[in-house]
């Protein structure tokens, strides 16, 4: 009985994997194709034929694969960014950036939307974690001397990405529109108001007025969900591209 079922299942799997549609979707060497065999050629194909994996080269220096060398920090930062994008899109369905509605929307999201609280928690903790991983990634790169030529410009892009990560986190901080958000942002923007010469103008542009209100909320919402991620993705693309153009991972030490 069990083997009969097993035979039928493997027959069906063979038919699906041999079908025209399946073959047109999964390119040669794909691990989802019928008859993937482990060969150097197929190992290369797995990378070359995948739109996501081909961010990677086909081969990397052996020491770069060790977890203890990179601690996966750059990759985890990128993964957290993806996770935050996905959970953030979910949150956007239930949120309106006005002073009258924002807090209620979050409250309803937490109490009445299925998985609303969980997704919000993941978004919040993931954001804090991303600040941490980006920061640690920078420290790792510094201690390995990986910012030295020919990678010096990629370091500059990396510092910009760190700044953008902090700004993304900070703009998101205001959106729940609770006491914590309002006063944390008040403290933060007051500090920026002390910029020499045009401090008041900086503060005015940031707050969209002289004090924090519903206009500020809209402005920071657009910054948070659209503009800063847009800029970050551009710098991210250049960052990844330069990693490979500058000769892959640095080292060995």
């Amino acid at each position: 009985m069990g083997t009969q079922f097993g035979d039928k299942a493997s027959d069906l799997m063979g038919q699906v994997q041999g079908s025209q549609a399946w073959i047109s979707i999964f390119r040669p060497g794909s691990i989802f194709r019928k008859g993937y065999t482990d060969s150097p050629r197929n190992r290369s194909y797995v990378i070359m034929n995948s739109v996501l994996y081909h961010l990677h080269p086909v081969k990397v220096k052996r020491h770069g694969v060790r977890v203890s060398y990179t601690l996966c920090l750059g990759g985890l930062s990128f993964f957290l960014f993806i996770l935050l994008t996905v959970t953030g899109i979910f949150l956007m369905f239930f949120y309106r950036p006005t002073a009258a509605q924002a807090w209620d929307d979050i409250y309803i999201l937490q109490t009445e939307v299925a998985f609303g609280l969980l997704v919000r928690n993941i978004h919040r903790w993931g954001a804090h974690l991303m600040v941490l991983t980006v920061f640690l990634h920078m420290a790792r790169v510094f201690y390995h001397g990986a910012y030295k030529p020919p990678r010096e410009f990629n370091w500059v892009i990396g510092v910009i990405l760190l700044t953008l990560t902090l700004l993304l986190s900070f703009t998101g901080y205001l959106l729940p529109w609770d006491q914590l958000a309002l006063w944390a942002v008040t403290v933060g923007t007051n500090m920026m108001g002390f910029t020499p010469v045009f401090g008041d103008q900086v503060r005015f542009v940031l707050l969209s007025g002289v004090e924090i209100g519903t206009d500020t909320l809209l402005r920071w919402y657009v910054l948070h969900v659209l503009m800063l991620p847009f800029v970050l993705i551009i710098f991210l693309a250049v960052h990844f591209w330069r990693v490979r153009k500058d000769g892959g991972i640095s080292g060995p030490l």
Partner: protein, 260 residues
């Protein structure tokens, strides 16, 4: 440097000894005749070669061959028809019946200089992708479990007229807020972080030391460590050791005044 296997070294030594033994007799006759034209000869072998100093680097049989070729070139009449006289039957071949001759000996490393050493590389699939996949799974599991048990804060609705005490910035800015207690806001909030960020961006242009091993860049490593620790300590003081009025407290006595 590459190591020459022992059996090859041995074989080369044997061959050299055999050749030296064979070349001993003809060398004595050939040298006087060959010496004068050697200077004009087109080959690049130094005239002083038979002395034996270079014998180790340029094999004796090659030297011998080039010498006999030079001899032939000198003996051949300078034909006006052209530099090469293919139809000349009187041109004999070399000692071993060779028709080629040695122009020069290029020692390894004198022209080709290999800068990029071949590196040990591994396939990204599966070696790197598996690790990344496990890391992604791990962080997802961690976040999921953490989020099930710990809720993100949602305090009461924002109220402009009610200032909480203390009011704190997000944790990554608490180092700056801590500096505010010591300096003028323009210094603490703008100048110091601005200079820190600027220096951070310029790090690769300031640090001209090419080494990347920690033991060869102790100054840079210690400077960065002090810098990172400076901010970490300030953030921790700002987060946990500041209570109402942003006064210094001990969290184990007065409780936590910190929201994530």
């Amino acid at each position: 440097m590459t190591e020459v296997p022992e059996h090859l070294l041995r074989r080369a030594k044997e061959a050299r000894e055999r050749l030296e033994g064979a070349a001993a007799t003809p060398e004595g006759e050939a040298t006087p005749a060959a010496a004068p034209p050697a200077a004009e000869a087109p080959d690049a072998v130094p005239a002083a070669a038979p002395g034996g100093d270079d014998g180790e680097k340029i094999p004796a049989h090659l030297l011998d061959r080039s010498r006999s070729a030079a001899e032939q070139a000198a003996m051949a009449p300078a034909a006006p028809g052209g530099p090469v006289a293919p139809a000349q039957p009187s041109l004999p071949t070399g000692p071993g019946g060779h028709t080629q001759r040695l122009l020069t000996v290029v020692k390894s490393g004198s022209i080709q200089d290999v800068k990029a050493m071949p590196q040990d590389r591994v396939h990204v699939w599966p070696h790197l992708l598996l690790g990344e996949f496990v890391a992604a799974l791990f962080i997802t599991a961690f976040l999921l479990i953490f989020s099930v048990f710990v809720n993100a804060p949602l305090l009461e609705l924002a109220n402009v007229n009610e200032t909480p005490n203390p009011s704190k910035a997000p944790w990554y800015f608490l180092g700056l807020q801590e500096l505010l207690t010591m300096f003028h806001p323009m210094v603490a909030g703008v100048t110091i972080p601005g200079i820190a960020l600027f220096l951070l961006i310029l790090a690769p242009y300031i640090d001209r030391n090419k080494a990347n091993a920690p033991e060869n860049r102790k100054f840079a490593v210690s400077l960065m460590t002090v810098h990172l620790m400076f901010w970490a300590i300030l953030v921790m003081i700002g987060s946990f050791f500041r209570g109402p009025g942003f006064n210094f407290i001990f969290p184990w006595q007065d409780g936590l005044f910190f929201d994530f």
